[in-house]
């Protein structure tokens, strides 16, 4: 999850997010290469002792600095498209969860077998118990099994929201009248947090997402117990 003074991306909890992190490292490496070259060029330009700067005959360099960026962009585009298509692969989900964004909470529906539905409100700061995270905890977590492809169908009830969980590499807009689909696999058990990522009113910052990933056998026990409660 996020931590103070964090500079990079959160650690990955899904294979796709690992790919995204590697792509980000690749692109950042190229950006660093270009930035250092430009920085050196600027440094030499502003510190030169020559009073007449170099001019004229620029066809050569114009050609170089047109072709070189094109090649660099191809070097960035290839892994980019690879990850992009990987994100759209059909992976035969084991479970479908529907989530609906409301002002200002999320609701989850597990309707594959029976009708399990519940709302997920943020726990107010004054109601937190020690060890819980401010503005991230919810009264009911979305529970999913680990190592199982999960399909999310995302929509909204009123205004546009966005369902995002950074460590899973997930962000998808929740748009009223539209069903957006995304899939993910959670690599290991734990609790993972996200926040609404599309401005949706006064409490936009106070409708977090918390996903709890547990082994399949425990997930089945949980869904049975939740159905019994409702």
């Amino acid at each position: 999850m996020a931590y103070p003074l964090q500079l990079g991306l959160q650690d990955a909890t899904s294979p796709l997010m690992e790919e995204l992190i590697q792509f980000h490292d690749h692109t950042l490496m190229i950006a660093l290469l270009l930035s250092t070259m430009v920085f050196y060029t600027i440094l030499t330009t502003v510190t030169t002792k020559l009073t007449n700067k170099n001019m004229l005959d620029s066809q050569g360099i114009e050609t170089i600095w047109t072709i070189a960026p094109a090649l660099i962009l191809i070097l960035i585009a290839m892994p980019s498209l690879r990850v992009l298509y990987m994100m759209d692969e059909v992976n035969n989900p084991h479970l479908t969860v529907k989530t609906i964004g409301h002002q200002w909470y999320w609701s989850y529906e597990y309707t594959d077998y029976k009708n399990l539905e519940f709302d997920s409100y943020m726990i107010p700061t004054q109601d937190l118990i020690p060890g819980q995270f401010r503005l991230l905890e919810t009264d009911h977590r979305m529970v999913v099994p680990t190592d199982s492809p999960v399909r999310m169908l995302i929509t909204a009830d009123d205004v546009i929201h966005s369902w995002a969980v950074p460590t899973l590499g997930e962000k998808m807009d929740a748009i009223p009248g539209r069903l957006n689909q995304t899939t993910f696999v959670v690599s290991h058990p734990g609790v993972f947090y996200g926040q609404c990522s599309e401005i949706c009113g006064a409490n936009h910052s106070f409708m977090p997402i918390s996903v709890e990933a547990i082994p399949l056998i425990h997930f089945e026990d949980w869904s049975t117990s939740m159905l019994a409660k409702i």
Binding site: D25, H26, M29, M37, M55, R141, V191, I214, H218
Partner: protein, 76 residues
């Protein structure tokens, strides 16, 4: 005594011949350093983490610590 005619051609090319290899070397050094100090260690860290990862052990540790709401610690 007449002055030697100053060189007024090819100044950019001369400057580039000097500075471009240095700029490319600095750029490549920083890129390669980033690759071997950040990217590769990160890939190795992920591979190492999952190589001996025991799902049940980690799950049970988290369960006993009371992290989950869907599964209570054993004994509760």
């Amino acid at each position: 005594m007449s002055l030697q005619k100053p060189v007024m051609r090819g100044l950019l090319a001369r400057r580039l011949r000097f500075h471009l290899p240095i700029a490319i070397a600095i750029g490549l050094t920083s890129a390669v350093s980033f690759k071997y100090m950040v990217t590769e260690p990160r890939k190795r860290a992920y591979a190492e983490y999952y190589k001996h990862y025991d799902v049940n052990k980690e799950f049970n540790a988290m369960r006993e610590a009371g992290v989950f709401e869907s599964v209570q610690p054993t004994g509760k």
